[in-house]
C-alpha cells in the first residue's frame, strides 16, 4: 500500500485559514489502512480544526466526506456536490489522490492534509515499513525477495557496506541491515551463490531519474 501520515495540525491550520467553507475529504483505501485518511481520521481532524478555529474566534464551516479512492475518476465523482458547496478541499489522500482531484476539479482549491511517505506494509500493528521504491525494474529474484534498492540506505547492489553491525544498519540501530537479511535468507534458501555474481550499474531510466513515468496499456485504451 501507499503509506502516509497526517501533517502537523499547525501546518494544516495555516493551509486552510484563508477559507470559510472547507470539505475534508478522506480516502478509503491505502491511507485508511495506515490510519491517516479514512472516515475516522477525517472526523477527528474536523473536530480538532473546529476547536482550533473556535479558540481563534474565526468562523469556519467544515463538511466531512470519505470516498473509496481519490485516485480514480469513478469514485471522485461522488465528491462533486460537496466540492461545489465549499471554498476549498483538504484532501486526506496520498499525493496521487490530491493531484487526481486537482486534475478533475480544475477551478477548485485542493490542499494536501497528509505527507505521503512510501510504498510499504504494516509489519506489526502500528508499525509500517518501506519495501519498494517503484524503480520500474524489479530484481527481487536475485536478492531472495528483499529489496536492496529500497531497504539499503546506500542502494548497494553488490553486497553490504562496512558499516553494518550485529545485523543493523549504520544509520540507525533500529533499522535492520537489508544485506544482513538478504544473506540470511539466501543462506536458508541455499542460494548464497547468487551474491558472487557481479551486478552491473543499475539502469535508473525506468525510475524517477528518467523523468515522470507513464504506463501505457494499449489493450485498454478506448
Amino acid at each position: 500500500m501507499i503509506t502516509a501520515s497526517q501533517k502537523p495540525i499547525n501546518e494544516i491550520i495555516e493551509l486552510v485559514e484563508p477559507y470559510k467553507k472547507l470539505l475534508i475529504l478522506g480516502c478509503g483505501t491505502c491511507v485508511k489502512t495506515c490510519f491517516a485518511g479514512g472516515e475516522d481520521e477525517v472526523a477527528v481532524l474536523a473536530s480538532a480544526l473546529k476547536l482550533s478555529f473556535k479558540k481563534m474566534a474565526r468562523p469556519i464551516e467544515i463538511e466531512e466526506l470519505t470516498i473509496e479512492r481519490q485516485c480514480e475518476n469513478e469514485f471522485i465523482q461522488e465528491a462533486s456536490p460537496g466540492i461545489a458547496r465549499n471554498d476549498a478541499v483538504l484532501s486526506l489522500a496520498c499525493g496521487a489522490g490530491v493531484q487526481a482531484m486537482a486534475k478533475r476539479f480544475a477551478k477548485e482549491v485542493v490542499l494536501p492534509g497528509l505527507n505521503t511517505t512510501f510504498i510499504g506494509i504494516q509489519e506489526s500493528p502500528g508499525i509500517f515499513t518501506e519495501e519498494c521504491s517503484g524503480c520500474g525494474n524489479c530484481s527481487l529474484a536475485t536478492f531472495g525477495s528483499i529489496c536492496p534498492v529500497t531497504r539499503c540506505a546506500k542502494k548497494l547492489l553488490n553486497g553490504p557496506c562496512g558499516g553494518s553491525q550485529k545485523g543493523f544498519c549504520e544509520i540507525d540501530p533500529d533499522t535492520p541491515c537489508a544485506w544482513h537479511l538478504i544473506i540470511e535468507r539466501l543462506t536458508t534458501l541455499g542460494q548464497l551463490d547468487n551474491l558472487k555474481t557481479y551486478i552491473p550499474p543499475k539502469n535508473w531510466n525506468t525510475s524517477l531519474s528518467g523523468g515522470p513515468r507513464k504506463l501505457i496499456r494499449e489493450d485498454h485504451i478506448i
Binding site: 546506500k154 553488490n158 553486497g159 562496512g162 558499516g163 553494518s164 553491525q165 548464497l192 551474491l195
Partner: protein, 302 residues
C-alpha cells in the same frame, strides 16, 4: 612489469609498503595541507586523501590530492559514490589523472546522516564495486562506460576497502573476492584492533587464493586515549575495539595513554609483518599526523 604508480611499484617489488592519511581542511586553506605533507613526507609511500569523510563538507579530495602531487608526495585519491553520479565520477577520474593522480581508492562513503548536512540528497547511482569496475574498464579498454574511445585513458592503480570486522562475517570474504574480480589491485582494511578476527579473515581469503591476487594493507589507527578507544568501539560504524584493548588503555595513567596507543600500534604492525598475505600497512592517524613518523621509525618501516 608495467606499474601505474610509485605505490604499485613498491608493492610489486615485494617490499612492505606504508600509506598514511591526510584529511583535507574544512575550508580552502592550503596551508593545512602543506603542514600535513611536511609531517608525512619521507615516512610513507603514499597518502590517502579522504573524500568528504564522515559526510562533512571539506576541500575536495581531487584538489587536495593535486596539492600533494605538486609537493612530490604521492596521493591515493579516495572517491565515494555518495556524492556523484556515474557522469561526474568518470569526469572526475579523467580530471584527477590529468593532474598527476595515479592511485584511487573506491568507496561507498559514510551515509550523510552522520555528517554536517544530513538534509542532503545522496546519489548512490552506482556502488563501490561498480566504481572499481568503471576505473578498471577505463584503464584497460580505454573506453568510458558508454563505450566511447577516450583520447587519453586514465590509468590508475585501483584500491578498495575491506572491513573484516563488519557483519555478517561469512560474507566478508565473498565481498573481497567480488572487489578483486571487479578490478581491485590493492585493499586497505578497516583499523585492526581485533587481531584474531583479522587473522581468521586473512586465513579464509588466502584459502581461496585471494591474497595472491591483490595487495593487502592492514589498517592501523593509534589510540590517543582510553576514551577514544571506547568512542571508536561504540560510535564509529563498523569498528571493533576488543574489551582487552580498552582495558589496557585504561590501565595506564592519562598522560601515558598516547604512548600506550603507539605501543599497541607497533605490536600490531609486528604481527602484520609476520602474517602471510599482508603486504603493508595503512596508518590512519586521525588528526594526529605527528604520530606517523614516530610509528614508521620505531617499527623500522623505513
Amino acid at each position: 612489469m608495467k606499474t601505474y604508480s610509485h605505490l604499485h611499484e613498491k608493492l610489486a617489488s615485494g617490499e612492505f609498503a606504508v600509506t598514511g592519511e591526510c584529511g583535507p581542511p574544512r575550508g580552502a586553506n592550503v596551508k593545512v595541507i602543506d603542514k600535513k605533507i611536511k609531517l608525512l613526507q619521507g615516512f610513507v609511500d603514499a597518502v590517502n586523501v579522504t573524500d568528504n569523510q564522515t559526510a562533512i563538507v571539506r576541500m575536495s579530495s581531487i584538489a587536495a590530492s593535486a596539492h600533494l602531487v605538486a609537493a612530490g608526495l604521492e596521493p591515493v585519491m579516495q572517491m565515494v559514490v555518495r556524492d556523484r553520479n556515474r557522469i561526474a565520477i568518470q569526469s572526475d577520474i579523467m580530471g584527477a589523472y590529468s593532474l598527476g593522480i595515479r592511485n584511487i581508492l573506491c568507496l561507498s562513503g559514510d551515509h550523510q546522516k552522520f555528517g554536517s548536512q544530513p538534509d542532503a540528497m545522496n546519489v548512490f547511482d552506482i556502488d563501490s564495486v561498480n566504481l572499481i569496475r568503471t576505473v578498471k574498464d577505463m584503464r584497460d579498454t580505454g573506453k568510458d562506460m558508454s563505450g566511447f574511445d577516450l583520447d587519453v585513458a586514465p590509468r590508475m592503480f585501483i584500491g578498495a576497502a575491506a572491513n573484516p570486522f563488519a557483519d555478517p562475517f561469512e560474507y566478508r570474504v565473498i565481498r573481497l573476492a567480488k572487489k578483486i574480480d571487479a578490478g581491485a589491485d590493492f585493499i586497505q582494511t578497516q583499523c585492526i584492533y581485533n587481531m584474531d578476527r583479522f587473522k581468521e579473515w586473512i586465513r579464509l581469503a588466502s584459502e581461496q587464493g585471494l591474497t595472491d591476487k591483490v595487495y593487502i594493507l592492514g589498517g592501523i589507527t593509534p589510540l590517543k586515549s582510553a576514551g577514544m578507544a571506547r568512542y571508536m568501539n561504540n560510535k564509529v560504524a563498523g569498528m571493533d575495539v576488543p574489551e582487552s584493548i580498552i582495558k589496557r588503555m585504561d590501565g595506564v595513567d592519562k598522560k601515558s595513554q598516547a604512548d600506550e596507543g603507539i605501543k599497541i600500534c607497533l605490536e600490531t604492525i609486528e604481527e602484520l609483518k609476520e602474517t602471510n598475505g599482508v603486504h603493508g600497512v595503512h596508518i590512519m592517524a586521525i588528526e594526529w599526523e605527528e604520530a606517523v613518523g614516530q610509528i614508521v621509525e620505531q617499527a623500522s618501516l623505513k
